[in-house]
Symmetry: D2
Amino acid sequence: MASQNKKKILNDPVYGFITIPNDLTFDLVEHPYFQRLRRIKQLGLSELVYPGALHTRFHHALGAMHLMGQAIQTLRSKGHAISERECDAVQIAILLHDIGHGPFSHVLEYCILQGIAHERLSLLLMQELNRQFNGKLSLAIQMFEGTYHRPFFHQLISSQLDMDRMDYLNRDCFYTGVAEGTIGADRIIKMLDLVEDHLVVEAKGILSIENFLSSRRLMYWQVYLHKTSLCAESMLVQIMRRARFLLTQTEGNQDKSDAVFTTPALRTFLSKPVTMEEFETHPEYLNAFTQLDDYDIWTSIKFWSQHPDRVLSTLCHMLLDRRLFKITMSDQPFVGELVHVIEQQLLSAGVQQDELSYFLVEGVATNSAYLPSIDNINIKLKNDRIIDIADASDLPGIKALTNMVSRYYVCWAKNLSQRPVWLV
Amino acid sequence: MASQNKKKILNDPVYGFITIPNDLTFDLVEHPYFQRLRRIKQLGLSELVYPGALHTRFHHALGAMHLMGQAIQTLRSKGHAISERECDAVQIAILLHDIGHGPFSHVLEYCILQGIAHERLSLLLMQELNRQFNGKLSLAIQMFEGTYHRPFFHQLISSQLDMDRMDYLNRDCFYTGVAEGTIGADRIIKMLDLVEDHLVVEAKGILSIENFLSSRRLMYWQVYLHKTSLCAESMLVQIMRRARFLLTQTEGNQDKSDAVFTTPALRTFLSKPVTMEEFETHPEYLNAFTQLDDYDIWTSIKFWSQHPDRVLSTLCHMLLDRRLFKITMSDQPFVGELVHVIEQQLLSAGVQQDELSYFLVEGVATNSAYLPSIDNINIKLKNDRIIDIADASDLPGIKALTNMVSRYYVCWAKNLSQRPVWLV
Amino acid sequence: MASQNKKKILNDPVYGFITIPNDLTFDLVEHPYFQRLRRIKQLGLSELVYPGALHTRFHHALGAMHLMGQAIQTLRSKGHAISERECDAVQIAILLHDIGHGPFSHVLEYCILQGIAHERLSLLLMQELNRQFNGKLSLAIQMFEGTYHRPFFHQLISSQLDMDRMDYLNRDCFYTGVAEGTIGADRIIKMLDLVEDHLVVEAKGILSIENFLSSRRLMYWQVYLHKTSLCAESMLVQIMRRARFLLTQTEGNQDKSDAVFTTPALRTFLSKPVTMEEFETHPEYLNAFTQLDDYDIWTSIKFWSQHPDRVLSTLCHMLLDRRLFKITMSDQPFVGELVHVIEQQLLSAGVQQDELSYFLVEGVATNSAYLPSIDNINIKLKNDRIIDIADASDLPGIKALTNMVSRYYVCWAKNLSQRPVWLV
Amino acid sequence: MASQNKKKILNDPVYGFITIPNDLTFDLVEHPYFQRLRRIKQLGLSELVYPGALHTRFHHALGAMHLMGQAIQTLRSKGHAISERECDAVQIAILLHDIGHGPFSHVLEYCILQGIAHERLSLLLMQELNRQFNGKLSLAIQMFEGTYHRPFFHQLISSQLDMDRMDYLNRDCFYTGVAEGTIGADRIIKMLDLVEDHLVVEAKGILSIENFLSSRRLMYWQVYLHKTSLCAESMLVQIMRRARFLLTQTEGNQDKSDAVFTTPALRTFLSKPVTMEEFETHPEYLNAFTQLDDYDIWTSIKFWSQHPDRVLSTLCHMLLDRRLFKITMSDQPFVGELVHVIEQQLLSAGVQQDELSYFLVEGVATNSAYLPSIDNINIKLKNDRIIDIADASDLPGIKALTNMVSRYYVCWAKNLSQRPVWLV
C-alpha cells in the first residue's frame, strides 16, 4: 500500500543520489537501530584534525549499499546469474555490516567492551532484526557470516576489496578534503568479475588496485593514524579509564558531591566491562548498547570537565578545548630516557605519581595496506589464469605494501602548568 | 617565538585549504568560545533530510574568513588602499560574526532566548574577547557594528553580498549535495569593487548576481525551509516547550521519579527565559551560554525519551527515531476545517485536549531572495553610474525575487496510535 | 561472436563512466559518420573566451545517451512499461541527434548551407545509416521525427527538457569552468514522470526546473552569446564570405598566384551554397558533408592568412592570433551615428569603401530561456492536475524568463592600423 | 595606459580562475607564438582513448604559471626573500617552458626533427621573444637554463617536483576522467621550503610525495603509455614516414596525380629533417615551426586518406575512423615467432613485402616514476637534516618506483582485409 513512499532517494554529496532499492531496506533504514548510526561519526575524533570529517556511519552504510548495487549490476552484465533475492540480501548485509559499531569504536572496543569486535555485535543485532522482521534477513546473515555457498557475496561484504572499504575510503577522503586519496571506486567496480563464484579483478584493473592500495596506505597515515588523532584518542581512553576508576570508587557513597555523571546507556558499560557471553544471554546489554552514541560520550565529558577530580576535569577540559597532548613518534620502541624526562616534567607540574599514566601514554600504531595472508586480491589474467595482485604487478612496491609498518609513539600533556589566557 | 606554529593550514573540502592569517586569529580560533562552534551544526535538523549536512559553524566561520581574504585581495588589486590592520580586523570580525549562535538557533532564539538575535550575543562575546585580548579586537568590533568610517568593511561582514552568505551558500550546497545551488562565489568576489568606500559589483557581474539570488532562493525552499525540516523543527520547539512546562511544574518536588533531566547549561535557559539585559549585567548567563551546544540538546532529548510524561517522551522518541510529523502546505492561510479534522484524529488516538498543541502546529515560512529595502546590491555600470541590481538586470525576475513569499503549513503527528514493528 | 568486446566503457570527466549499452550502438559509435564528431567542437569559437571549452559533439552525444539511459531507468522504476526495443531506439536517436552538425554550425548554416537546419541533415544521415544497417534504425528515426505513437520518446530527444539540453548545459559549464551554471540534471531526471505517455515533472521538482531555466539563461549570456564570442563569430562569417567572393572571382583564372586554397570538402560548400533539395538528390553533397570538420575550416584560415587579398589575410591573421573585433552592445537598435564614426575610422585606417562590411558588423543576439509557445514544461501536481511550469511556480520570474530578450551589437576591427610588436 | 585591461582573469575548470599577473605576461600570452599553443593538444592522440582529453598546451602553460604563483607565495610566507623581479621572471619562464612543443611532440621529435628536444626550441623561441621585448626576458631565460645563482627557481621550472608536472598531472587526470590520479598539488606546494636556496619538502609532506610518485606512475601506464595510444602513435609515425617517402619520390614529377599535399609549414619539415644548427642559423625554420600545429597534421592526414598510394591512404583512413592497430605487450622482448605469424597474415591480406614495416611495428615503452640519479626530491627532516625521499619513506615501494620498467610491444593492422560495413 505505502510502497510508493518507500522508493526513497537520498542526497549524497559523494555519489549524487542513493536510491533505497526496496521496501524491506526502507524499513530497515527507518529502524531505530539504524537511525542510531546518524549519531555516530565515522571517524570519531578525526574532526579535531580535519574539521569537515563529520560524516556518520549512517551515511557510510547507505553509500556502501549504493556501491554494492553497482557491483551486482557489473557482475550481472558480465553474464553471472544473481537472483533478485540474492541481490536484496547482499545489499541488506552491507547496509547492516556496521550496525554494531559504538561511538569511537576503538575506545569502546578496547577499554569498555573487553575487546569485543564490532562485527560480533553487528551479527547479534542482525539476528535481533531478523526476529523482528520474521526471518527476512536470514540470507543476508548467511552472506555476512560467510556461510552462503557462493563465496563472492561475502567477499563483497568483507574482504580486501569489499564495498565497505570502497565507500569509506571514498567518503573519508571527500570529507577530510584529502583529495589525493581518491581511489577510483567506479573503475575498480567495473573491473570486478567472478571465477567459480570467487571475486577477481580483470587484468587491466591492476593499476587501479595498486593505486587503491597506495591510497589506502596514504589515508592510514594521513588520517586514520594521524598523530594528532592518536593524541586525542589517547586522551579519550584515559578519560574513560579515569571515569571508570572514579565510578567504581564512589559507588555506594552517600556524598553526592563527587558522583560521576553518566548517561544511562554509558553507565551500563562503564561500571563494569560487558563480555560477549553477557551480551548473548542478557538482552538488556544489547538494548543499552543500541541507546549509546557520540552524544553520551561528549555530554559526559562536558559534565566531567566540572568534576572535582582534577585528573578527570583537566583531561576533559583539554579535549573539549582542543588543547591536545604532544606526541613523538619513532620507528623504534622508545627506550626509557625520553619517558623519564617527561615524567619529571609532569611531576614538577603537580601531577601525582599515581596519576602519571593518565597524562603520559605510550603506544604503537601499525598498518599494512595489503595482507595477502588473510585474503587475497586475485587478478584474472588474459589467459584466465588467476594470480595474486602482489605477483601480477610489476611494482615491487605492492609486495612492500604487504609489510606491517609499526610506528611507536609517546604522547603527553606538555604544558600542563601553563594556563591559557582565558583561564587566567 | 611560537609564531611559526601558528601559521596553520586547515583542510577544507570546499576550498582545499584555509590558511590562518596571523597569530591573533590563531589564538582566537584556539579559544574555547570558538572551539565551541565545533559542536554546533550549521544546519541544525537539516541532517534529517540531507544526511551529509553535518558541517559546523566552526568550519563556516573559517570559510567566511577565507573568502574575506580573497575579497580584500581583489579590492587591493583594483587599487584600493586597505591597511594590514584593517585587513586583520575585517577577517577577525567575519571569523567571530556567528560566535553568538546557540544550538538550533531559531528554536533557542524564539523559545528560550526571548527573541534575542544571535548577532547581539556575538557582539557581547566579541566584547568579552576584546577584554581578554587587551583591546586588540576594537577595530573588528567597529566594523562588525558598522561604526567604522569605511562602510564597505561592514558590508563585507553583513549585507546582501557579504562573505557570510557566500560561504554558507557554498558550503550548504556542498554538504547537502544540492549541486545546482552552486553560486560562483569566486566570480562574484572577483567582480567586487568600491565606489567611495561602498561595495559595488562590476557591470559584467550582473549575471552572476542574478544567479546568486536565484540559487539563494533555491536553497531556501529546497533546504532551509524544506517541509521535512519544518516538521522536525516544530517537534523540537514543542519538546522544549513541554520540557520547560514540566520543569516549572516539578521544581521543588521531593519525588524524583518525574524530575526533568537537563545539562547544567541548558537548565539555565530552560528554567526561565533570559533577557538581553540579564545577559549584559550577569556574566553567569553569558558563561552558561558558552557551555551550550548541540550535545546538551540531543542528550536531554535522549533522557526525556524515557520520561514518564507521555507527551514529552513520545515527541522525543519520534524525533530520535525520525518518525516525523506530517505536513500540509498552502499559499493561503488554513481555515478551520483541516485543523479540526486533525484535532479529532489526535483526540481519538488518545491525546488530551490540553496536549493538542504539542502534536499539531500551525506556522508560516517566509522568504525573499533579495530585499532592496534593507540594503541594495549596487552595480557599477561602464559609465560609472551606480544602480540597483533590480534595475540593472534585463530580467523582470530579479524584481520578482524581491517579493516576500509566504507558505502556510500545518504539521502534526499522523500515526500516533500506530506503533512501529520494533515497539510491538 | 565479438559481442564481449563491444561492452565498452568510456571515461567521462562529467559522469565518470559512460557505458555503450549494446552492439548496434557500439557499431554506430565506430562508424566514420560518428567518429567525425570527434573533430567538431561543441562550442566552436568559445574556446577563445573559455580556453577549457574544447569538448566535442562526440562526447556530448555520448553524454546525452548516458542521461537517456538514466531517464528510461527512472520512468521504468515508476511503473511505466518501456520495452528493450524502445529503450535501444531512443538511445540511438539521442546518440545521433547531432550527427548533422557541421563545424561552427551557425556560420555554416547561415552562410554556406542556405539556412538548412542541422536537424534535417541529422535525419538524412540517420536514414543513410538505416540503409547501411538494414533498417535497424527505423524506430529511432520515428522517435526522432516525432511520429512514434508514444510522444514522450520524442520529448526526451527534443523538447525544453530533453536529454540534449541536460547534457550540453552540464558539459558546457563543466568545461568552461562556469560552475554556477550547474543544473542538477540528476535531480531533474529523477523527477521525470509520464502522464498518458507525455513527459511531466513531479511537483517537488519545480525548484529544480526554475533553477534549470535560470542556469540556462546564465549560460546563454555568459557563454553562448558572450560578447567576445560574438566578435569571433562575426569575424569567421566575414572570412567565409570573403573567401567565397574571391573563389567565385578567381574561378577559371590561369594565374595561380591568387588561387584560394580550400580543402576538397569545404570547396563543395564554399563555391556555391547547397540547397536541401540538392542534398536529398545528389549523394555527393552528403558525402562531402561527412568529410567536413573543424580542421577544414582552421587549416583554410591558416592558408588564407598568407593570401594576397588584404581583407582575407588580415581577418584570418587576426582570428588566428586572437586579435578580435571590439564590440558595443545595447538594448536598443543602433542609430546611425556610432556606425558612421566607426566607418570613418576604418576608412582612415586604409579600408576601402567596398570592404567596410568585412570589418564592421551589426547584429542582434536574442535569447529566451523558456518558450512555452513551442512546447511546455508540464508539472504534475499532487492532485494529478497538470499545469505549465510558468503557472506552477510562485516566481513571477519564470514568466519573465519567457520574454524574448534582444541585445543589439556593433563589432569592428578597432586598431587595424596598429601593428603589434611582433609584426613591426 | 591600457594596463587596466591587462589584469585578465581566465576561467579554468581545474583551478577556478587563473590571473595574469602583470602586463609583460599579458603581452606574452597575446603573442602569436603563445596563441599557437591553443592549437596543440597536450596529450596528442590520447583523445582516441580518453575523449575528454582535448586540453591544450596553452591551458597547461597558464596552469603551471598559476601554480608557480602559489609556490612563490608559500616560499615567501616561510620567510624566504623573493623579489618581484624574480617572481615575474620565474612565472614567465614556466609560462614559456613548453613554447617549443610542436604537434604530437614525440612523433615530430623523433621522425621529423632529428631528435631535437622541445626544450631546445623553447629556448630558441624565448631568445627570439627576448629580442622582440627588448631584453625583458633575460632573467627568465637564466632561470630556465639553470644559470641563475639561486637554483630553486630552475627546480621549480624543471625538476622531479616542478610546477610543470604538478599542472600536467592535475590537468591530465581532470580531463581524462582518471580521478584516482589526483596528486594533491595544493598540499605538496604548501609543503615546499628552501634550504640554502635549494628546493626541499617538509617531512610531513612525505606521504603526499609518495602518493604523487605513485599517481604519476599510474598516469604513465593508464594514460601516457596506454596501449591504444601506443597503437595510434605508431600509426602516426608510419603515416609521416610514408608521406615523407612519397614526397621524396615524387618531387620533380610532372604528373600531379600522385602529388603529396602538405601544408606549407609541414612541408618544410617533411621534405627533409631539420637539424638544430639549421634552426639556429636559418630563421625561416623557426618561423615555419611557429606556423605548425595539430591542424597541419590532421588536415594532411585527411588529404592523404584520398591519396592513390594504398599504404598511405589505408593508414590515414584507419586513424581518422579510429580503426587502430592491435597490440600485444610483454615484459620480455618478443622473439621471432609472433612477428613472423603476423607478417604472414599481412602478406596474405595483400600487403607487399616492402610495405610490411608500415603495418607492423615493434617497440618498447619505458617508465620510471622517480629517477633520483637525475635530480633528487629532498625531504627536510625535523632535525633539519636533508635526505632523499627514497630514504625518508618507510615504503620500500618508493625505492621500487626508481626502477626503470620496460614493456615491449608489437602492434599491427589486424583485420586489414575486412572492410567495415560502411565501405562495402
